[in-house]
């Protein structure tokens, strides 16, 4: 657990969108998918996922419907809406720019020596 990283505020939404972009998933599935695509190194409290999901549905980025899971249980499945897809593209680009910039900034060597 020690090598788990706390999420930056606001990044959970981006991860959810990314996870769901590969196909409809239920909540627990999304959590597993995020773990899978992030090499299990992010620490996400399970319950914290749900306010995020509700928020994205509320913003019209996700849509939800009830269905049956692979375990043969009733579950609510989430998928991207067109707006959600567009938002994912924009946010991904934003994130990459931010990460590059911060990376570059941190990589510079101190000038005085």
């Amino acid at each position: 657990m020690a090598d788990h990283v706390q999420l930056l505020p606001g990044t959970l939404d981006l991860l959810i969108l990314r996870a769901v972009s590969l196909g409809p998933l239920h909540g627990y599935g999304i959590l597993l998918r995020i773990g899978q695509i992030s090499c299990n190194c992010l620490l996400i409290e399970q319950g914290a996922l749900y306010p995020g999901l509700f928020r994205l549905v509320r913003q019209g980025l996700l849509k939800a419907r009830w269905g049956t899971s692979e375990n043969n249980r009733r579950a609510k499945f989430y998928e991207l809406t067109a707006t959600g897809r567009k938002r994912l593209r924009e946010e991904t680009a934003n994130w990459n720019r931010l990460a590059t910039a911060i990376g570059a900034a941190l990589a510079t060597q101190p000038e005085e020596a």
Partner: protein, 878 residues
């Protein structure tokens, strides 16, 4: 489309709340089952797997709450829910709610009532077009102030000024109206043709005056007010062209002015400037008669100051051209708004300030109440927080509650203001301008609610923020009253001190005003106002000669004297203390060197021989008039003591001579000296007054004075009948008892006294509630401690003193602060005081004593309760 969806979504969330809860539960359940499935696969029992899954999920209730919150956003749902809860909370503690709402209502009601007056009188713009550009022009020199222009000056101003779009002139009169409904007394104004264009108010019906009607040989045309049109003509549009008789001359109605139009005063009819050839010629020629009340509209782009400068340059030019009449005369500009409000502004602002203090006390009380309530509810909030209520959510709940309190308080306050409106307006002295415009309008209501919401928001959120600091653990652990321990005692003490200080200021103000009124009422007016009825007539133009006026007056007076119950009857041109613009006339005292800069002047009153006897004004020396005294060519005069002292100090005034330029060059001899009467008000010194015989120099108005044996008000009809028996076309107006007339001269004092003592009373009550609240809260909070101390043998009396002392200490500090503030603030009401200094020590002591007593009572009641604490009950309290 999207909007519609969102709306539908929002609405659906409101109505399917329980459904939504079930869905969230379902979803979380599904999540946990899926997780448990995975854990089970590692070889654990199902039950253990589910337990772990549950644990891993985290703070379930918290996440549920967050889900619900995101779902409903910040919207109506939370609000209705908070509202519902707030209503429930308020209903659960009716005493708290009642006190809080009532406190707010008093503060807001008082302020709204006064604000609605201030708004109508001062703030609301006059109902003319672009009233900000309208100014009144006054002429003044070293001796006279605030006079109108002369007619030739007006014409010169019009021709030569560079600042005005137009200059219009009026002069006002009391007039007799005679139409199909009989005679009545009205206010008339002679108006220049451009008046309505300058004010920017076109007539509602018909036309305004034509320029030709400004001049001699004018049409006999009249414009009437909306009020007169409604009351005398039933609002009938065929009124145009109808004839009405004003002061004996017939005029054709040419126009009706819109509702609410008032200029120059509460005018009923406007007559053309060409009116009255004799008067007009006099005004035309004479550069000495300052009769034209002038109003002008500034040209766009000109400033007030530059215009003032321009006009005075013009005044200097005129002084060079007409040195005899215009030397030393300057022009003063006053904005029309300021001119209308005049001296009332200060009094109203004082009232607003007093009402503000009441609100301040109310706010302090409310803050105190909410602080206590906040700390009492610390445990409730701690529980809610630990169950997953977010801080913002809890804060929002508190704000909703105080907003609800605010709305309730505001509504009750507005109702109070509405209920008291009529009573307050009825008390307002008649000289306050625009009284009939006063109503509780949308502005005042808006003011009330803005005030209520602002108050409750500030004083609701303050304690709420403080509440945020409450340590969850300690609040839950200690529980009950102990949690209340830190309800910010310092802040509450400051609040109590503020309340006491504010209340003291108001009580001192009210006491000073009351003391002044009592002193005023004891002032001797110089005549006996008991059992006298008075009424006034104006002579119509048909009474042109002195002979006609004399005959009329003599017949009415002798008829009146013969009526049963009438002891005496007389006539005068002007009653003492009659609410009328008094004027001093220049006189020349024979034997004194004449000094053009310090002409002696005196009030001039014409009276019939019976006047001094009827009024019971004492004769000091010489004799009064007889029936034969009179005549324009010669005639005696009677002076009051003030005139005798001023004009002939240390000499015998009898036999001395006086000349009045305005009624010829005749020299008149002093035949008697009578006692002084109060003229403009009871509070002012008597000025020199010279009496002329009415039967020699009749005034255009005649006021009858009828002394009766009892109940003078019952003689109103008698007076009316006797006048109408002699001439049925002359209306008698202002019929009232002399006692009432005298009382009217202190009407403003009474008005301010009543309102400020009402505020003082509220303040006293509110401050007492504040101290009571603090002490009883302390007692409840310390029940446990008190129980222990009583059990250990403390004497109840000692405890009582100790607890009461806490409140009294704060009261004493408040009194010191209050006295200090009062010493500064009472100077502002010194204009309303009579015969008492603003810093009157007896008043300060008395008011402080009153406050001390009421606070003592407020401390004693809860302290006694503390004394009766049963140690056993107290120790078992938790």
């Amino acid at each position: 489309m999207k909007l519609l969806d969102s709306l539908r979504f929002r609405i659906s969330t409101i109505f399917s709340r329980s459904q939504m809860n079930a869905q969230i539960d379902d979803e979380i359940h599904s999540h946990i089952q899926h997780r448990a499935d995975d854990i089970e696969r590692t070889g654990l029992h199902r039950a253990e797997a589910e337990r772990r899954a549950n644990l891993e999920f985290g703070r379930r209730e918290r996440f549920k709450e967050e889900c619900r919150e995101t779902f409903s956003g910040n919207s109506i749902e939370i609000l209705t829910q908070d509202m519902r809860f707030a209503v429930r909370m308020l209903c659960k503690s009716p005493a708290f709610t009642a006190i809080a709402v009532l406190t707010l209502a008093l503060g807001i009601g008082a302020n709204t009532a006064i604000f609605s007056i201030v708004n109508c009188v001062i703030l609301r713009p006059l109902s003319f077009r672009d009233p900000g550009r309208l100014v009144r022009l006054y002429m003044y020199n070293k001796q006279f102030d605030n006079l109108g222009a002369t007619f030739p000056d007006l014409l010169d101003w019009r021709a030569r000024n560079r600042s005005f779009e137009g200059l219009a002139a009026t002069w006002e009169n009391d007039s007799n109206l005679f139409d199909q409904n009989g005679p009545t007394k009205i206010r008339s104004a002679v108006a220049s043709a451009n008046l309505f264009a300058v004010l920017g108010v076109p007539p509602l019906l018909g036309r305004a005056f034509l320029p030709a009607e400004d001049r001699l040989g004018y049409e006999h045309a009249v414009m009437i007010s909306y009020g007169l049109w409604q009351t005398r003509h039933g609002g009938d549009s065929t009124v145009l062209g109808k004839a009405i008789t004003v002061d004996g001359t017939s005029y054709a109605v040419i126009g009706v002015l819109p509702r609410g139009f008032q200029y120059p005063g509460k005018t009923d009819v406007w007559l053309p400037m060409g009116l009255g050839e004799e008067a007009l010629i006099r005004f035309h020629d004479n550069r000495r008669i300052h009769a034209m009340e002038t109003v002008g509209r500034l040209l766009p782009g000109t400033t007030f100051d530059r215009t003032s400068l321009d006009m005075n340059v013009l005044a200097e030019q005129l002084a060079r051209e007409y040195p005899a009449s215009n030397t030393g005369w300057k022009v003063r500009l006053v904005s029309l708004g300021e001119d209308t409000v005049g001296t009332s502004r200060k009094g109203l602002l004082i009232l607003m300030g007093a009402a503000g203090f009441v609100l301040l006390i109310a706010c302090a009380n409310l803050a105190s109440l909410l602080l206590v309530r906040g700390s009492v509810r610390a445990k409730e909030f701690a529980i809610r927080a630990s169950l997953g209520g977010s801080r913002t959510r809890l804060l929002r709940q508190i704000v909703t509650e105080s907003a609800l309190l605010g709305l309730l308080g505001g509504a009750t306050g507005a109702m109070l203001a509405f209920a008291s409106q009529a009573a307050i307006v009825a008390m307002i002295p008649k000289d306050l301008p625009r009284i009939d415009e006063i109503r509780l309008d949308a502005h005042a209501l808006l003011f009330a609610f803005a005030l209520a919401l602002a108050t409750s928001a500030v004083f609701g959120i303050g304690p709420a923020l403080q509440n945020k600091r409450v340590n969850l653990q300690s609040a839950l652990k200690t529980g009950g009253w102990q949690a209340v321990g830190n309800s910010n005692p310092a802040l509450r003490k400051v609040l109590v001190i503020t309340e006491v200080a504010c209340a003291l200021i108001l009580v001192i103000g009210a006491t000073l005003l009351a003391e002044s009124l009592f002193r005023l009422m004891r002032v001797q007016p110089g005549f006996n106002s008991l059992d006298v009825i008075t009424g006034t007539i104006g002579y119509p133009d048909s009474y042109a000669t002195q002979e006609q006026k004399t005959v009329f007056a003599k017949r009415v007076i002798s008829n009146l004297t013969e009526m049963p119950g009438v002891l005496d009857a007389a006539g005068t041109s002007l009653l003492p203390l009659y609410n009328f613009k008094r004027q001093f006339s220049p006189i020349q005292i024979v034997g004194h060197p004449s000094d053009p800069h310090h002409e002696p002047e005196s009030e001039i009153t014409t009276v019939t021989p019976e006047f001094f006897r009827s009024m019971q004004i004492p004769l000091i020396a010489g004799r009064t008039f007889t029936e034969v005294d009179g005549g324009l060519d010669s005639g005696p005069i009677v002076v009051n003591e003030a005139a005798a002292r001023r004009f002939w100090p240390n000499q015998n005034p009898l036999g001395r001579q006086v000349r009045f330029e305005w009624i010829g060059t005749v020299v008149r001899e002093v035949i008697g000296v009578v006692g002084d009467t109060k003229q403009t008000s009871l509070a002012t010194q008597s000025e020199p007054e010279i009496y002329l015989p009415f039967y020699g120099i009749a005034s255009p108005y005649l006021t009858f004075v009828v002394r009766t044996n009892a109940n003078p008000a019952a003689f109103a009809n008698v007076l009316d009948d006797q006048v109408h028996k002699v001439d049925g076309t002359i209306p008698v107006y202002d019929v009232q008892t002399l006692e009432r007339l005298t009382a009217e001269s202190f009407a403003p004092n009474r008005f301010y006294l009543r309102l400020i003592s009402a505020f003082g009373m509220m303040a006293l009550g509110l401050a007492a509630i504040g101290v009571y609240g603090l002490i009883s809260f302390n007692v409840v909070q310390r029940t446990h401690e008190l129980g222990v101390r009583l059990a250990l043998g403390a004497l109840p009396g000692g405890l009582l003193r100790q607890i009461a002392w806490e409140g009294m200490r704060l009261t004493l500090v408040g009194l010191v602060v209050g006295v200090a503030c009062a010493l500064v603030l009472t100077r502002f009401i010194s204009g309303l005081l009579y015969g008492i200094a603003p810093a009157d020590p007896m008043t300060l002591i008395g008011a402080s004593g009153l406050l001390l007593l009421s606070e003592m009572a407020a401390c004693y009641i809860p302290a006694r309760r503390a004394m009766r604490v049963d140690p056993m009950v107290a120790l078992r309290y938790e």
